[in-house]
Symmetry: C2
């Protein structure tokens, strides 16, 4: 199978906000706010490149077990990021367990895709098991999200941490050592250059 | 969560047999046989280290779409490897679609775990979608396989290729540049040393 020049769908795991905050003498929860502008920059970079679809790991059900100062901070950063995106050229979809108190009410309108432009899927109060449990009742809960070609993770860890287990089955995983608030467009350019060198066989 | 000194369950993706054969002027299908002895060496290395459970990606339903000379060769190598293991101290389980003609009949007895010793799970005619489809009918078809801590892939590709999507959600993925027939115990030692440096948070 021919390798696409540009991935059709890219997943992003913006990890390392807490480590960044601590390294800068701040409380852990202060890191999340510093992830909003990088996210908007990355969104615009993908838009310029005409990437058809992106998915961003905002927070998981597991993450909500963290201390309340942190959960409050990452929820508020997620809401701010989503609302900022909704004012841009984006077809925005939020996927996650909206039946739980941990789901930010402000994002309920985006449980149905809103707007036009690049597809942007935000995982909000998402759980891999919550997602798969849908299969016992008709289908994946993330069924509106297509298969990913490339996943870029910041923060140095080489794992998926429950990020869309079905859509990630054939994705190439590119790990960035930088912490997410240190995002620079050149990092994503390097990820794309790396992707173009990968051989995509899809098991054939 | 404290990081274990040794992973409880390690997955192995032994990729690169065909590339190895071509690089040595052989036909692609000649590579699979050369993966058997490395597999037995790795098994013994895991046994010496007292790893409780390992899973090995033998072949998938996707793989069986390859030319028949290749499918014949990887099936025969898989059967030979499994029978060799069955004569060693291993609790052997084969997981895969045994209702298909692509499943080697010789391995049917191992659809129920046989033997005592380290748990060894072989994925044979396995498909990630075949596995997950079980969820619409009671549960994962690979339910007897536990969650993995570490996955080591040979052959340089940084992806899962459908390897146990549920058991891999929190696994650290370590990529080896060497092709599988070039396996040396030092490569696995390096993977374990790398694993000990990873931070395991399980989303917390």
């Amino acid at each position: 199978m021919a390798k696409p020049v540009l991935p059709s769908h890219i997943g992003f795991i913006p990890d390392g906000n807490r480590r960044w905050a601590q390294a800068h003498g701040l409380s852990k929860e202060s890191g999340y706010d510093r992830g909003i502008q990088p996210g908007l920059d990355l969104f615009e970079q993908c838009q310029d490149l005409r990437v058809p679809e992106i998915s961003i790991f905002c927070f998981t059900q597991d993450n909500t077990k963290r201390p309340s100062a942190q959960t409050k901070a990452f929820k508020s950063a997620t809401v701010e990021f989503a609302l900022q995106l909704s004012r841009r050229e984006a077809a925005l979809l939020v996927v996650g367990d909206s039946g739980s108190k941990q789901f930010p009410a402000e994002l309920a309108p985006f449980l149905v895709r809103q707007g036009t432009g690049m597809k942007v899927n935000l995982l909000v109060n998402y759980g891999w098991n919550w997602d798969l449990d849908g299969m016992s009742n008709g289908g994946l809960r993330s069924h509106a999200i297509s298969r990913m070609d490339l996943i870029v993770r910041w923060g140095g860890s080489s794992r998926l941490s429950g990020f869309l287990p079905v859509q990630s089955v054939y994705a190439d995983l590119h790990i960035r050592p930088e912490l997410w608030p240190e995002f620079q467009p050149s990092q994503f350019e390097q990820a794309l250059a790396w992707f173009r060198k990968q051989d995509r066989t899809l098991g054939g």
